[in-house]
Amino acid sequence: MPMWADICVAVLLIVGALAALIGTWGMLRLPDFMTRLHAPTKAATLGAGCALAALALRFYFVEGGSSLRYLIPLGFVFVTAPVSAHMLARAWRARHPVTPKPDPAMPSASP
């Protein structure tokens, strides 16, 4: 494996791991559901995507072109993650009608 690929894989892994960590950290810490929804949908998806890209790149030098198949789950996650989030948001909205709040930063009591 050439040097540049090694670096790329390492960077992808680092970015992915950090993104996943940040995304889940956000999911844990953010105040209400709608804001919590943001964090993992974006960050954790990026984390998984990076890991898969690293995988594809790493094994490109082992098995050649067929390593592109590792991008299938990547595409899958990228297509489905927004849809999941969308569905969840709809579900939340259906059960919790929006009421205007004076201060959106104020942590809302969990329902």
């Binding site: 299938i72 595409g75 899958f76 297509v79 489905t80 849809v83 969308h86 569905m87």
Partner: protein, 913 residues
């Protein structure tokens, strides 16, 4: 060959008769069948009387040591002749009795089938075959008794007969299996020769119990006597046949047949003679008080069967001779009496003894025939009944040893003899004399000549045997008794006159006292005013049936859907007991394996996450949905753990099963209340907790034990042979589709059946849980993008399954979940690929075809072939016929999963198109 013809001819005739319409043709065919059988038997007569045993055998179930052997010796010959001879007469009689009835061909068909079953019982040379034919006689007699089906009495009588004789059939099957084991063979000749071994066997009491249960139920011995009396609801020809020569004599035949094997012990003596004596007295007394002509005859049959059983119970050689002799005599006079009763019934329109009186004036011919037959039944000298009764009295007097019975036997014999005379006297006097008929529906007259002819033939036989016994019946009787005894024949004399002795005195006393009893009872028609005696046994039987039905209702109420907790508790407890029993017996080794060695570093976190959620899920405070989501996390953790332990197959399967389960439960949850009803009482909580701990702890223990043990040698074998034997490196898949392909075939069939049951069950719901999803366009669009990839992955998983993790099952689950997703997104069954029934049918069909293909090529079912053909473009391809089978598995899994989940989600409302 001849034996095979005898055995099969009635069945062929029955099949033909069932298709016939014309009564005349049916009569001709049935009569010819009986006569041909009789003729074939006549051909064998000389050889059989000389003591030969003819046999023909075909291998049937060689692996079990069972063969279809037919065997005829003198005893079997005698019974077969009775069956076919009286059968021929009954057929002639029925032709006129049921004249003009369009059901006549069906009647003859059933009669022939019954004859075939009886001949089978008599001629069977193999215990298993014998039990099978025995069962067939029960079935055929059920159909015959229920011939007037909508009629309440017929249905009830048939039900009683089937229940009792069917129970007896089960007992016989048990007896036969044990007997075959004890004797070392199912072959009748071998068993008959192994009497000493069988009697010394520790299983002997069990064999005897089951055997006697079968025999007593069939030949209506106490306490099963009630069914025979109820069976008189059958048309009279059937009664004449069943009561005289056939069904009830099957039990007697079996007693005689196995006398050399099972008889001669104290247990035999007490059990058989006690049942016989009770039946003898009970039947005799009950017969006197019947008002129904056929009822009287039915109870007299019970009594006579008791007499024969008692004789066999005496277990002396001369008693056996007397028993065989009385079988013949009883068959002749009882058949003629039933036929005469049928004529009276037919001509008068009723057979109530209180109305049918003074028939002598209207039908002197029938009357004289019936009087002779009744005299034979009573044991009047110069008739056959006298001879065998004389022998019976002699045996009862000669009994010694077993004290109480030896004292009581002559007394019982005398009492029964007197009762026999009394009911015979009532039959003669009440029907043919005793004033004038009362309120008859029609004016009686003599029957057609051909209807009386069978009666005449039988009565003539009674007379001839009574007058000149030795030339008429001597040879076959001697031969049959010899065969029944299985040894040397005792000295006996069939002569009419033995001088003044004890038996003669008893006969005379019985005659005088019988007539006296009847005269006293009948004074001023007093007997007509008496109520019917309590039909002991039948009421108890009805009550038993009722109790069974009621307990069924109670059970169903307990197991109905609204007792979910109870059901679950019962299921869990049953599983705990079934698994716990061997586990507790196996001992417990408490040593910890080195946990850390097996788990990759850091993987411990996965285990911890799984464990935490598993514990959290058990907390009762959680809502069902939360528990479900926790379980999803547990499943994922387990899948990761499997992956970490390099078990990719398990990991994959675990994932798919997990998701399918969560989907199913989510849909099921919508039918349940959002909040689980609380369990309030402490006792209940403790009980559920105990069950939960037992179930969970037991499962854990089981897993623990399984992990501690070294895998058994079979897995090593399968691992070693996966490539060489089946051409696949994925041993798991090879085991599923090849090594244990037959198991898999069974499993997918069960799976398909279960899915169809759920489907049918949920079809009652008007609508499913989910309505049409009318949300955004996002979900359908995403699904449309994703679905082709999912299908591609499924194909990929399936294709590589034989060599690498994957295979039909996992691929099927993936495809199914994809299809479910598609259906959920499109909101209904409108998904173009959700055709579960077709998937199921195609899958099962393919799997079966693959199996059948190897059968067609001359290999055993499901033999697989494999090869690695090299194709021009694609290169070497591992190809195994098992792959086709795997494709079948895939389709069934898809069909079943889609069917289950979508039936839950949408009901059948939209699926019905």
């Amino acid at each position: 060959m001849t034996l095979l013809t005898i055995c099969l001819l009635p069945w062929c005739a029955a099949l033909l008769l069932a298709r016939l319409r014309s009564a005349t043709a049916a009569f001709a065919l049935a009569g010819a069948c009986a006569l041909v059988v009789l003729g074939l038997l006549g051909q064998m007569a000389q050889a059989v009387w000389a003591g030969q045993t003819l046999q023909s055998s075909v291998a049937w179930l060689p692996a079990l040591g069972v063969s279809a052997t037919l065997r005829i010796d003198a005893l079997a010959w005698l019974f077969a002749t009775l069956v076919s001879g009286i059968g021929a007469l009954v057929i002639l009689y029925a032709r006129y009795y049921m004249d003009g009835d369009e059901r006549l061909p069906r009647f003859f068909a059933l009669l022939c089938a019954f004859m075939g079953a009886m001949l089978g019982v008599v001629l069977a040379g193999d215990l298993v075959l014998l039990a099978m034919f025995w069962e067939l006689t029960s079935l055929a007699s059920f159909l015959l008794i229920a011939f007037n089906a909508p009629d309440r009495g017929a249905v009830r009588g048939a039900r009683a007969a089937l229940a009792v004789t069917g129970m007896g059939g089960l007992a016989l099957m048990a007896a036969v299996v044990m007997l075959g084991r004890a004797a070392g063979s199912f072959d009748l000749a071998t068993v008959l020769a192994a009497g000493d071994v069988v009697r010394a066997d520790p299983r002997y009491p069990w064999i005897l119990t089951c055997f006697l249960l079968a025999v007593f139920s069939k030949s209506a011995q106490f306490p099963f006597q009630f069914w025979l009396a109820r069976a008189m609801a059958a048309p009279t020809p059937v009664s004449a046949y069943l009561h005289s020569a056939t069904l009830v004599k099957a039990g007697i035949f079996l007693l005689l047949r196995f006398y050399p094997v099972l008889g001669g012990t104290d247990a035999w003596f007490f059990a058989v003679s006690t049942a016989g004596a009770i039946t003898l007295l009970l039947g005799g007394v009950a017969a006197v008080f019947q008002h129904d002509l056929k009822g009287l005859l039915a109870y007299s049959t019970v009594s006579h069967l008791g007499l024969i059983t008692l004789l066999i119970g005496f277990s002396t050689p001369t008693a056996i001779v007397a028993a065989v002799f009385h079988v013949i005599n009883h068959a002749t006079f009882k058949a003629s009496l039933f036929m005469a009763a049928g004529i009276v019934d037919h001509e008068c329109g009723t057979r109530d003894l209180r109305n049918v009186n003074g028939m002598w004036r209207y039908m002197p011919l029938t009357g004289s025939l019936a009087i002779v037959a009744a005299a034979a039944m009573a044991g009047v000298p110069l008739l056959n009944g006298f001879l065998s009764k004389e022998m019976f009295f002699g045996e009862a007097l000669a009994l010694e040893g077993h004290d109480p019975i030896a004292l009581l036997a002559p007394l019982a014999a005398l009492l029964a003899g007197a009762a026999g005379v009394a009911y015979s006297a009532r039959f003669v006097h009440d029907v043919f004399f005793n004033g004038a008929p009362i309120n008859l529906p029609r004016t009686p007259h003599e029957p057609p000549l051909w209807m009386a002819a069978p009666v005449a033939v039988l009565v003539l036989l009674c007379l001839l045997v009574g007058l000149i016994p030795t030339p008429i019946i001597g040879a076959p009787l001697a031969a049959a008794a010899h065969a029944a005894l299985g040894g040397s024949l005792p000295s006996y004399s069939l002569a009419l006159w033995h001088g003044f002795n004890g038996p003669l005195a008893m006969s005379a006393l019985a005659l005088v006292s019988g007539v006296g009893i009847y005269a006293v009872l009948m004074r001023k028609r007093a007997l007509h005013q008496r109520p019917l005696p309590d039909p002991w046994g039948y009421r108890q039987f009805e009550r038993l049936l009722l109790t069974l039905a009621r307990s069924g209702v109670v059970l169903v109420r307990q197991l109905r859907g609204d007792r979910m907790r109870l059901q679950m508790a019962v299921l869990a407890l049953a599983a705990v007991l079934a698994a716990g029993w061997p586990l507790l017996g196996g001992g417990f080794e408490a040593h910890l394996p080195e946990l850390t060695a097996a788990i990759p570093q850091g993987g411990i976190i996965v285990w911890v996450v799984g464990a935490v959620f598993a514990i959290a899920a058990t907390s009762a405070r959680n809502q069902p949905v939360t528990v479900l989501l926790f379980l999803g996390a547990v499943g994922l953790a387990v899948a990761l753990a499997f992956a970490g332990l390099s078990a990719p197959d398990l990991s994959l399967t675990q994932l798919f099963v997990e998701v399918a389960t969560v989907l199913l439960l989510l849909l099921a949850l919508q039918r349940l209340p959002v909040e689980a009803p609380p369990v309030r009482s402490l006792g209940k909580r403790l009980r559920y907790a105990a069950i939960a701990v037992a179930g969970g702890g037991g499962t854990g223990w089981l897993a623990w034990e399984a992990m501690l043990r070294k895998p058994p040698a079979i897995s090593d074998y399968q691992l070693a042979n996966a490539v060489s034997g089946a051409g696949g490196t994925n041993a798991v898949n090879v085991i599923i589709v090849d090594f244990r392909g037959f198991d898999t075939l069974g499993e997918i069939t069960v799976l398909a059946a279960a899915a169809l049951i759920v489907w049918a069950f949920l079809a009652r719901e008007r609508a499913g849980v989910l309505g049409r999803f009318q949300g955004s366009f996002m979900l359908p669009t995403a699904v449309k993008i994703v679905m082709p990839f999912a299908a591609l992955v499924a194909v990929h998983l399936y294709l590589r399954g034989h060599n690498l993790p994957g295979g039909g099952f996992v691929a099927g689950l993936l495809l199914a979940i994809g299809l479910v997703l598609e259906a959920l997104a499109l909101g209904s069954w409108r998904s173009p690929h959700a055709r579960p029934v077709r998937w199921l049918a195609a899958g099962l069909g393919l799997a079966l075809l693959t199996g059948a293909a190897s059968l067609a090529l001359g290999y055993p079912f499901l033999t697989s072939a494999f090869g690695h053909p090299v194709l021009p473009v694609l290169g070497e391809i591992p190809l195994a016929s098992a792959a086709l089978f795997d494709l079948g598995v895939l389709a069934v899994v898809v069909g079943a999963t889609v069917m289950l989940i979508l039936a839950f989600a949408f009901g059948r409302e939209e699926g019905k198109k």
